[in-house]
């Protein structure tokens, strides 16, 4: 699911802009994407945390579900995800996962109710498989409209509200995880107050031909700089957020991944709409009895960086594996996350991360590593 699709690399509507800005372009999930701009990842990271960064996330998959007569999109989608979708009020957004029969995660996604539709944003590397999955399972109940040509811009950072309000004053009052139709620069966009950096900010779904002019307009403000995928990764890691294909995949359940918060009470055992999603029995059992392993934050001592794949040991015995690790620019030190056996997963537990054959002392710590700055009103 993480392998890029075959065939030539695709481009987003912002490809030419990235080139003009001097981006280093790399293949990512079947697209030619900017990994960094000339100032480099550290500057881009700080720019986003301190001011405002503009990310091209148009490679992600946008899908719209519309109910067929006599059906409900929410009820249909709840057969594929453990999230409380029926409880979404118009304009509300929720994070959930497509699960498989073992309770593993096929993909993680954002779901927003517009009232008339459900709008999904799924990962780029999974979008074709996700679409096929939805079409197989939901076609009787829903019209399924892939909107893969649309633009998706993430405007993130403490100045995002100031900047976007200049173009659309109504966005200032929006709260975290809500969405609304907003006209920006003459184009009808769907804006959500969300993102994947731990910062306040917005994701702006644009018509394909409006993505480039809106991006240029946003970049014309002095607070805004273009940011690549490199800083997007370091920002989400500091925020303790999972990267699909690394921290979560078909072999990890939402409970193991520490995503229980995203499974609404209504969908848990004894809830009014309990179960009904693939792998529900496995997931309900893990909720009741807890999972055999757990995703944890890891703070290594010193400067060495434990990256994905590094083993986690206690007194020489392997108890888990690092799934994401890197340098946290905000903290000026290395951080990591990984899975460890539940019995060893308490905060404060001292472990060793095996980096190039050498044990690096580390402590299990709560996440996020950098406090979230979401606007909750």
């Amino acid at each position: 699911m993480t392998a890029p699709s075959d065939g030539p690399l695709k481009r987003t509507p912002l490809y030419e802009l990235h080139r003009e800005l001097g981006a280093r372009i790399v293949p990512f999930a079947g697209y030619e994407m900017p990994v960094q701009f000339p100032t480099g990842i550290l500057v881009e990271h700080a720019q986003t945390r301190n001011a405002c960064g503009l990310f091209d996330v148009s490679h992600m998959g946008q899908v719209r579900l519309t109910a067929r007569p006599g059906h409900s999109t929410a009820a249909a989608l709840e057969t594929l995800v453990p999230g409380d979708i029926a409880g979404l009020q118009p304009g509300q957004q929720r994070y959930t996962q497509f699960t498989n029969e073992n309770g593993g995660i096929l993909d993680d996604l954002m779901v927003t109710s517009t009232g008339d539709h459900l709008q999904l944003v799924v990962n780029a590397a999974c979008k074709d498989a996700d679409l096929a999955h939805i079409q197989t399972r939901l076609s009787d109940a829903c019209e399924i409209e892939p909107m893969f040509a649309r633009g998706l811009l993430a405007l993130q950072g403490p100045q995002a509200v100031t900047v976007l309000s200049r173009l659309a004053p109504s966005v200032a009052a929006m709260k975290f995880m809500t969405g609304a139709f907003v006209v920006i620069d003459g184009a009808r966009c769907y804006v959500t107050r969300s993102g994947y950096t731990g910062c306040d900010g917005y994701e702006i779904s644009t018509p394909a031909d409006a993505a480039d002019p809106i991006a240029r307009k946003l970049l014309s403000y002095p607070e805004v700089k273009s940011i690549g995928l490199g800083a997007r990764d370091s920002l989400r890691l500091e925020a303790g957020l999972c990267l699909y294909g690394h921290d979560i995949d078909t072999a990890t359940t939402p409970v193991e991944a520490g995503l229980l918060w995203s499974i609404g009470k209504e969908r848990r055992a004894q809830g009014s709409r309990a179960g009904g999603f693939p792998g529900a029995a496995v997931i309900q059992k893990q909720i009741a009895e807890s999972a055999p392993r757990r995703r944890v934050g890891l703070l290594p001592e010193g400067k060495a960086i434990a990256r994905e794949g590094a083993e986690i040991a206690i007194a020489g015995k392997i108890v888990g594996t690092v799934t994401s690790g890197g340098f946290a620019p905000t903290l000026g030190r290395a951080i990591a996350m990984g899975y460890v056996e539940r019995s060893q997963s308490a905060n404060g537990t001292q472990v060793e991360l095996i980096v190039r054959g050498k044990p690096v002392p580390a402590e299990i710590v709560p996440m996020p590593f950098v406090k979230h700055a979401y606007y909750r009103g």
Binding site: Q36, G40, I41, K303, A304, I305, G326, P329, A334, R356
Partner: protein, 125 residues
């Protein structure tokens, strides 16, 4: 005047007498991006040509640094612990990694001179 030679792994070595100072090239630092940590070898360590002797961590990835010649490490650049970004700012200046006593100067003949390295870079596209 000191002689500078280059490896296909994008290390440089500046030779002064029997001592070589080793670092990575401008091209290498551009490819790596922001360097955040360099694990340099300790003085006294004997290294073989082509042996992995240091690790440079950028935000994106860890990369091995190979010794372009055999010898014994006499000094590591301790300043990199506090300012790893020197590797990006001055890869051939204050961003050097370590110095060694060259065991066999004939190994230098297998490395490229500046013009040869420039041609090699062009071949990479």
């Amino acid at each position: 005047m000191a002689v500078v030679k280059y490896s296909e792994e994008h290390e440089w070595i500046r030779v002064e007498g029997d001592t070589g100072t080793i670092g990575i090239t401008q091209y290498a630092q551009e490819q790596l991006g922001d360097v955040v940590f360099v694990d340099v070898p300790a003085a006294g360590r004997k290294v073989a040509k082509g042996e992995s002797v240091a690790v440079v961590e950028s935000v994106k990835a860890a990369s091995d640094i190979y010794s372009p010649v055999s010898g014994e490490v006499v000094e590591a650049n301790a300043a990199l612990a506090e300012s790893p970004g020197d590797v990006n700012l001055e890869p051939m200046g204050k961003g050097w990694f370590f110095k060694l006593t060259i065991a066999d100067k004939s190994e230098l003949d297998e490395l490229m001179d500046e013009a040869g390295y420039a041609t090699f870079l062009k071949s990479l596209g």
